[in-house]
Symmetry: D2
Subunit: 352 residues, 4 copies
């Protein structure tokens, strides 16, 4: 089109599920113009090579990933690569004056030693990493607005943290009692073909994985520790569920104050998220369903208190590829640009 | 809101899957204002009673179905009721000056004797029915633009006819050889609970139903006969597929001219649908997938010619609840109002 | 056939999913003869009325539910009715000398006050209930062998208790820390059509339900309390998963002894279940998948210890309709008759 | 074990879905002893490496594929390899006196030129191939009984041919009108990870593939031509359906005799398959469902005649991995050994 007032943006890693959502959302975003799509494996081809339904929809060609060229054309660059690649590109882009929104794990950690310990990769970009803001708008809205580099959390930390933030921020729970039993659809595993993600294997099948050692654990703990003011350890157990999209976190924690009832907690959450347009706290007795969030950037929260056990149980449901990935990145973009946080993002899906 | 320039529209039958899609689409349509939602079973309640994810999204209350009151408030009324109900309401609405878009079978037949024979219900609204236009924009774009009453086809006739139209219109096939092997997801069966639509029954399950006697057969034949210029009988076999959304029609017919090859037919279809923005004819060797169409108003068409058998095989894929139902109704609305045919309708879904 | 040495058995409530599995399993059991099928709604018809694939397989007609007549023909009667009906039939059958295996909640409680409190129904059969044995063979093998009346646990208590038994029996955990995050396929909801169990609703959908108040909670607590020697309260949260069969329980508890590692717990479980042919304790690092258990009576157990949190995490996977229902009932039958516990029950399913 | 009277059998290619079903079925077959499992990629390991649920169930180690050694230990060898490999092993096994049952395409063709033309591979084992019998017991029961080498058809030809046999054998249809619209679950695509078979891609997705050119076409035509007494060309269109197991063929053909009604055809099929214990012809108005056949060796047949179009429509449903693969191979084994055709094969599955 060439609307000169639109912000030129690019996507590095356009052919994975995260990149695909970004393409879909950015094409319809009223204030940006998508000017670059990069993916080394299909340079010179169309995105329709990987996704035939996009023939004649996405007209941009796929280009090689050359940071200087990208920087010369884009004001904002989304990095949607596997872990360990963003940290090689982001410093160059930033130096050339781009703003960078990374969807991988590379810029989520304050302490790169934690990253190296859980991801097994040494890092040399400590200065760059020190400037990164954790891209969870419901917690760091102001810092994101001022950031040049944002490291967005994925679906598990997003669902888990939105469920936990008010509890930790208000000191409502005994920190070490927090348990996150998380469940996610198979699109979280990406588009690379793997046996356990085949329909024949994953359908009518349910199991936990990476028990006690999933890489999203330190990220969740980093934020909880900051809120609690001391080191917090949480239990995080992910499960693979036979569905395409959606992440549900069922969070358990023991309340400090035995007098709190469910409605009290609902009131606290409603207040906490009053200025968060993407958080919907359900009425008492209503528990969120991943299907409600499908195709939207919404996080639904359900709350119950068990007077028999003194525990609060918080359930949060998101679309793992939108609020859990690409939608959140665009929510961060909106904040960084000073636009309304909801701009260009879907509010209602096509149920059922 | 009260944008005075927006066209006030209402939905009668808002709580079924068809009504729900209409709500979703009309809320985001830039030229209409949704001012009425009717459903006798939940009068006075919110649509969130039936669909909790719509809490705070749909603020209109559900009202009783009183045609005079509806007519006083709405310029256009969508009827999304089970068969046999629209014909009791539409005449009153029309008399009061409304335009009516019906999603049931009531106004799809030129000859009401055909309706009575297949639907088992006598009709007295012959004058009204005579004014109805069959709501398939790809065929009757001009008539729809001038209509007061449109009877929209459902998913099976839509997918079947879009696959068949060029063949019949151009006289390319031996008419009586046309066979439609159609497949649809379980949302086509509606939201009323029925045993065979339970996940436990329908999942990992596939079967034909209503073989040789499905009610959509006469509708398809009515259109094909008009195009052929003589009575045409087609074979139509629907199947229930273990998925939520989507309809695929696989159409077989014998070519009159044995010299035609696949690329010829693709060229003919591309020309035939040149001015149909919602039809995407796939390149040679690409066959449409229902998932591509999910969440959009697009119909994807794939074409193959078998030189061994002299048959053409045409596959068409749509979202049964959008192009096969609510989206098509809004496409008709756009034409009736003189708006662009694509206004307010989704072009790209959230794959996967 | 009339093998005179076979034990004549009957099923009251043959057309639900539980009854159907019983029919399937008992037809192939080498020591019983199925002589009676009762279901009031389809008296005089064939089971193929409800399940067409059983035409010519199940030749017994469906009969009315008349306890005296049933007792005159059956040595053992399986009751597969909704809660509150077995307690009206079982006393009569027992009086006539039958052995009774009930699949409902009616005979699972030592204290009928607990039943009345959670199920909302007064009971007058206290003497009968006092003789009932809880039908979990892995815990009460000897008592079941001597029982006239067995109340079998369903899928959730079975999966939960098999995961918890060694922990409570050996005093390994802090009792009040036990949390069961359970997940089950939609066949657990039965065959009565309900909106939320429709494929269109339940597919690609995940949510918790009955949080803090599911009726299986008191049953689990009854057994845990007995093992602990004092009243124990557990947290139990069920989730509905988009799959047909299978129940997975993910159990969390804090270990008393911080020195125990995963292999220690695996050793303890292996010893505990040494004489339980249906329990398979997985090797370290292997977590059970519901699909493995599908079509079998096996319960797979996976174990992990988190040294960071001092918690043990135990996962147990079963087929909700076999080990969680009909298969367990037949396992109890085998014990009551002095047969091998594995007789007539499937050991390997048809993966995938 | 070492029951000396049992027939020693082996499986070459034990880790694919076909091999896995063979393992499952042969372990429970009363007259055979499984003595060899071969798979070059996991030599020396256990089958539980690939399928953890089989730990302690399958105790045989996986061995290398050395034909002479296999022949020295096995009386019958099942070959479950990808196309083009059986033809290198079978001649050696036969020469050593083994009987061979091949599940690939290698021995399904009378005319190896047809094989070479569709599979793109030259063959030198013409003498061996000339002795092979097509392993469809319902057609070639007697020849299979005398065979040393059987080439078993897969799911598509099996479902298609069982639906077509009586029509061609009795000359009831106009041969060139036969159209097979076939649908199959994703396990037909095997266990090798491929993008289009991922749950995220294949779920809620439906499309045709290999239209006009699927490799199973010539096999079906070979048999139909033999029955018709002249060259017959059929239309065969496969579709990938979002389910794990099951194949449904919907067959259309024009009847020669316009006076035949549905009940006539049902009578003819019932007579034709009177001695075929695995074929169940449904009553009028009942259409087969793939789920009915799941976990069994049964083929369900439904029949309808459309007096309006003079077509017969035959639907056949099987479990693609049992009657469409491993079960059929064992049915052939039973015939080759002179055992009852049903021996060791499952008759009722675990619906739902």
């Amino acid at each position: 089109m060439g609307n000169l007032r639109r912000v030129p943006v690019g996507i590095v890693g356009a052919s994975g599920y995260g990149g695909l959502q970004l393409v879909r959302l950015l094409l319809e975003h009223p204030e940006v113009e998508l000017v670059y799509l990069g993916e080394d494996s299909i340079v010179g081809k169309s995105l329709a090579t990987a996704y035939p339904h996009l023939a004649n929809v996405v007209k941009l060609p796929i280009e090689a990933i050359e940071p200087e060229i990208i920087a010369s054309r884009c004001q904002v660059v989304f990095l949607s690569l596997s872990n360990g690649h963003a940290c090689q590109i982001a410093p160059i882009l930033l130096e050339q004056g781009c703003q960078v929104i990374d969807l991988s794990a590379d810029y989520r950690f304050r302490n790169l030693a934690t990253y190296t310990s859980w991801y097994g990769k040494e890092r040399s970009d400590h200065d760059t990493a020190a400037t990164a803001v954790y891209g969870l708008p419901e917690l760091y809205r102001d810092r994101i607005a001022d950031a040049q580099l944002v490291g967005c959390p994925g679906a598990y930390p997003t669902a888990s943290l939105i469920a936990l933030l008010p509890l930790f921020k208000q000191g409502l729970i005994v920190p070490e009692t927090a348990i996150i039993d998380a469940k996610s659809g198979t699109s979280s595993g990406g588009r690379e073909p793997k046996t356990h993600l085949l329909l024949a294997e994953a359908d009518n099948s349910l199991a936990a994985y990476s028990v006690t050692r999933h890489r999203h654990t330190p990220e969740i703990e980093q934020i909880c520790s900051e809120l609690a003011g001391h080191e917090v350890t949480v239990q995080f157990t992910p499960h693979l569920v036979p569905m395409v999209r959606g992440t549900l976190a069922t969070v358990y924690a023991t309340l400090r104050d035995p007098g709190l009832v469910g409605d009290d907690i609902i009131t606290i959450y409603t207040a906490f998220y009053r200025n968060s347009p993407w958080i919907k706290v359900c009425d008492s007795g209503i528990y969120p369903n991943t299907k409600w969030a499908s195709g939207t950037n919404i996080c639904y929260i359900g709350i119950e208190v068990d007077p028999r056990t003194r525990r609060v149980i918080v359930m949060s449901a998101i679309d793992n590829l939108i609020k859990g990935q690409a939608g959140q990145a665009i929510q961060c973009l909106n904040l960084m640009m000073g636009w309304d946080e909801t701009l260009g993002l879907p509010k209602v899906g096509f149920y059922p």
